[in-house]
Point group: D3
Chain length 149, copies 6
């Protein structure tokens, strides 16, 4: 793939990732790996008595998978120098076991830095389920290479 | 453990979690589970040529583990109704394979809501390594039960 | 949490852990990790012809999860110097995929040792399913710190 | 077990392995470990629209499990010096989540080498499901010890 | 393999399993699967200050792997009706990351039951490391098929 | 990405995948998932006495990872209707824990089928390590979409 730069992504640029089904295996392996055994995620009996009626995937799992799905597209990999962080990460709707998620990405902010070879961009991730409902949103900030002149 | 409420956590309240070593197994299992195979995390040869000189743990992995470590303390579980999201999540320093992390938590914001039985709090998580350096910071927002009157 | 000692746990003291659902993922990952591919646990066709009618979780898996659930309560962690072993571990009823387990712990034995700073205790673990049936019982022995005088 | 040699396996010799159920956990863990997130394997919505109607296990997963099932029988372990490779590996029918596989092995070729202490054999693996349908076939070549004279 | 029975295993019968190296991956995956994050197993900094100087594998992990290693030999699988439990399970020496374990099994007890078709046996498992040191011992009880007459 | 077809890949077309380090975690998780506990892969003591001097990754693991690495490039995903199988899969050199692999792909065969809308191609995969040595080769056959006319 050709090298990409800060200049190649304008505000309003959008793309979509591949999709993946969030399985019970993801939820159990996640609980294990991150030590997050909150009963809504790992205790069927508890979950059945909540408003959700069943176990719900961990929010940070959906965030982690969103980061991976975007990375797998290869859209920006070469352009990114560093991940500057995330803001406004919010769960919008529960992700249940068996739901299939896709990430819709949009460039929403773009600015130069004091270094002529580096720029910053903010990309909004909307994670959607198989019914098109938005389940998680967040704003990712990246430091990017600018074209040399 | 006794039931806890919004009223039980004042601005300035602090606590610390247990510690855990971030191993190669965590990094590999994470890459797998979230499909994040960015070479800095999974390719030794690539990583050796970066400023980090070696593979670095994924930022969202450290965030996920921080959420789990705080949950395992049991400090607030009963008080929390829902996780409202996270802001200002930033990596401050690289976490390398073999580093050991601990989370220091501080209540930094607290407000009532329109519902008398529910309040909101913001907790700052400082994730530190074995040398006491802060490696990740973020601000978690929780909806909490208030005491019934 | 305040430091706990041998003196803090009297015969008859009881507590209960959190609960967790034993999933197919647990059973498959367990078979993998411990190389226990006995067909009752991993072969649906074989299991369907047994008295159990379906796959059953490995006994040592339920034991391992019981140890973890008790540890996560934090009730005794600081007091324990070493795990001296387990006796009378028995499966009382099958644990099927989808069952949710909880551990009820009771201190059943307590004695001093030749060292004034160390005592021994035996704790009985009753692992129960979501219908309150006991599925596994065992007696765990711990070496514990005594209060300094 | 007694040491086995090239001479102990004649053309036409057959044996069968134990059986194992291919679960969603296998498919998800496989996708993770080998980075093979092709949607037919990991995206329920996509798979529902294919001729298969549901997710299908990865072919190389079935191959990998076949290798393991044959190894676990212990039939030839001592006789084998090295695995020379595989030919004619083909999927014959889809393996769906919940199918149970068994491997039927037959020695189909046998020849001496230039070294008097080593011979070569080709073993055909037929992987079958719980309905006796062949789902994968391949021909494995092994370098083997010959009896010393 | 030919069917085996209670009569085929006399007191004093001994056999040895294959060996396996206990890796950091086993310890981390175990902690995850069983929720046992006791710092001696998962916190390098903590472990360095103990008498062990480094992380030690969980006792129940070594027990679980011993059960699997014995099962993989296939020595008794067909003869066993049910696992009646375990007694006198004790850690004798620490297992460190990188140690290689083998199980030595000996039949130490054998008795008839009220049912003419069923007998009971106790098998002692001695788990040894690569230096031949015994690291775990336990006594496993099995219900077994007797030969029909 | 634009839709690709059989016509888009001519004999001699070459591309390279991303790289990944094969870790102890991969080898242990692989042994677990496929039940392949051959001592050369999982027993350090045994492996130390072989010509390899240390544990070697499973051949089918390297094959599985090669399939995944090629899939992640996205080069051909849309063009492929089905995987017809693999031939001439051979290990050329051992892959040791810590080695980093890359796949070089070359189209080596191409033919029409009786159906005007489908063609077949054979792609050779050369898996190389960080020193550029070829460690595994195989020939993958794919059924592909032809352009509609």
């Amino acid at each position: 793939m050709p090298q990409k730069f800060w200049e190649d992504f304008d505000i309003g640029f959008k793309f979509k990732t591949a999709s993946i089904t969030v399985t019970e295996t993801h939820v159990v392996n996640w609980a294990c790996l991150t030590m997050d055994f909150y009963p809504l995620h790992v205790d069927k009996e508890y979950a059945a008595k909540t408003v959700f009626k069943e176990r719900v995937a961990h929010g940070p799992l959906i965030f982690g998978m969103a980061v991976g799905l975007v990375g797998m597209t290869g859209v920006a990999a070469d352009a990114v120098i560093a991940w500057l962080g995330v803001d406004s990460l919010k769960m919008r709707a529960p992700v249940k076991i068996g739901d299939t998620i896709t990430v819709e990405v949009e460039v929403i902010e773009k600015r130069e830095t004091s270094k002529p070879a580096q720029g910053v961009q903010t990309w909004r991730y909307n994670v959607c389920n198989q019914r098109g409902e938005v389940v998680l949103t967040c704003e990712m900030k990246f430091l990017m290479h600018k074209k040399e002149r």
